[in-house]
Amino acid sequence: MVIAASLSIVPFGTRRDPLVELDRELGSPQVKYLRCYLHDLGARTVVVEPHYFDRDYLAEFVAFYATSTVGYPNVCQRLHFFDRRVTRGMLERAAGGDAVAQQVLQAAYLGHIVRRPLPDAPIGRTVLRSYPDHLGIAQGTPRVMSPARDYEAHVAGLTWRVHGLAWQQQESAVGACATVALWSMLHASAFDDHHAIPTTAEITLAAQRGVPSGSRIFPAVDGLRIEQMLEVIKAQGLAPVVIPGDDADGFEHDRFCTLIGAFLRSGYPVLINGKLDDQERSGHAVCLVGFRSPALPVIADGDVEHADRTIDVVYVHDDNLGPNARFRVEAFESNGQAFVQLRGEAPRPTHGPLPTENPTVTYHPIIPTEIVVAVHPELRTAPEHLQRVAIKYAGWLPEILDHESSRQRHRQSSGMVVSSRFIPWVEYVERELGSALKNRPAALARARLGLWEAVPPMSLHVGLVRVSLGLQPMLDILFDTSDSDRHLCPAAHVVFHAQVAWLRRRWAALAGESIELGVQVRAW
């Protein structure tokens, strides 16, 4: 019988802190990572919910632990972290409806960790806020964490919200690292309107149902094959995309960066299958959840390049470490070619010395060999193909700008960047255009009505290619994504400057041929 118990309030980092206890007992890299991460987030208080029935753990319990003679309990603890001192009085005021106390607690809330009653793998569903990004924002290279979403924790009539993406430690009875990476992936914001999130037990069952491995289902000690991961994605009503590396050594640098940039910007986490650069070169799967926007590349006049090809920092949910672990994208040479590897890197501590050693810095580099992504089934365009046609349909603009600028004797840089992603059609019209044309209401109205009235019906998700001069948007090219790649061509383009429309006409007059970009929508 589970007996009622009070919430306890414990100062973070003290002997009574459950993470300190776990570090003492296990010394696992996951616990050490979480202690360092929360320390650097400025955690000061832990509110311990003594009894919490966790959906994922209950599914694991039903699938495996319930029938063990060990007598595993079915109830977990949940730890809530705050970056300020929290007192019992403050909790009582908030629970009594005091709006100020509620706001203070919400503002200080850093997220929660479910503590499973499993001695070897106690860290269950974990959702933590990411670090503040003041420096990245100031430098124009903000963190992009599109797959993150809001989670709510309900405690004594209070609702605490945190923005992040769920992570958990692998427990080898019901799931493997690939199971946990898939589980995080299927939590993504992109699927908010789509489906219920499967538990790790459901993922393992779906994998074995689609492609039996020949071995027993539970305990799931054999891991998953890539084809099983694809079956899991299909079982969720989503479409799997698998993209292999350039050869057995993995991905060429620019290709890897532009691919993950396109997926992550679209809200789709990227499951990386790869090799740990340890002695055994063992296989390992992690889930990419974000990246730091790179600085704009320097581009030759008249040329066009992908904006994301220089991504150098990614954020990874790794079941060997923890959530949002920072990895640097590095190149290594093999047979005369440069391939990508991801090397763990701890950010500089911002709240004094770390309480324990940070396992990120001694972690083996990961060499990605395949990318697996779940996308909406209606989205039929391959992102790699969209990237290729993006350059094809954008290349004319810097070329003609360079020509006209030099003819009119204005020496100025004319190199442009192109960036592509997928976005729901309505979100493009509402949010994307609303943001780009925020201070130009007349142009915004013309563009929105033009898209609604002059463009043939568009697919639910559109391929969006933005061509920019420096940071300034020149035009957006929109692709219908509901047909096969062979027929992929622009359905419409939104022009932000009169001169861009003029340059397109100029190209036609000079080159003797027009550029087919679909319906032109005026946004100036």
Binding site: P132, D133, G136, I137, G140, T141, P142, R143, V144, M145, A176, C177, A178, G223, R225, I226, E227, L230, I243, P244, D246, R265, G267, N273, S282, G283, G290, A307, T369, R388, I391, K392, E399, I400, L401, H403, S405, R407, H410, Q412, S419, I423, R431, S435, A436, L437, A443, R466, S468, L471, Q472, P473, F496, H497, A498, Q499, L503, A509, L510, W524
Partner: protein, 75 residues
């Protein structure tokens, strides 16, 4: 899917390719849109070269998924 996907932990708006607001661009503003056509022959050569270069990019070989890829085991 979220807008530009840029996490804003500060109220100020950071300009990136996906978040920049459209503004007057000096490079474009300096262009004389009534200028006569010139340099046609040179431009046609340039356009043809660009076409060839871009066509090559679009048709470049895709890396194929093989059975070996699909059977890779991840523990």
């Amino acid at each position: 899917m979220k807008g530009a996907g840029v996490e804003m932990s500060s109220p100020e708006k950071v300009a990136t390719v996906w978040t920049a607001e459209v503004a007057t661009v000096p490079q474009l503003a300096r262009l004389d849109m009534r200028a006569p056509l010139s340099g046609q022959r040179a431009f046609r050569r340039r356009a043809a070269a660009l076409r060839r270069r871009l066509a090559q990019g679009v048709t470049s070989a895709r890396v194929r998924v093989t059975t070996d890829t699909l059977r890779k085991l991840v523990r």
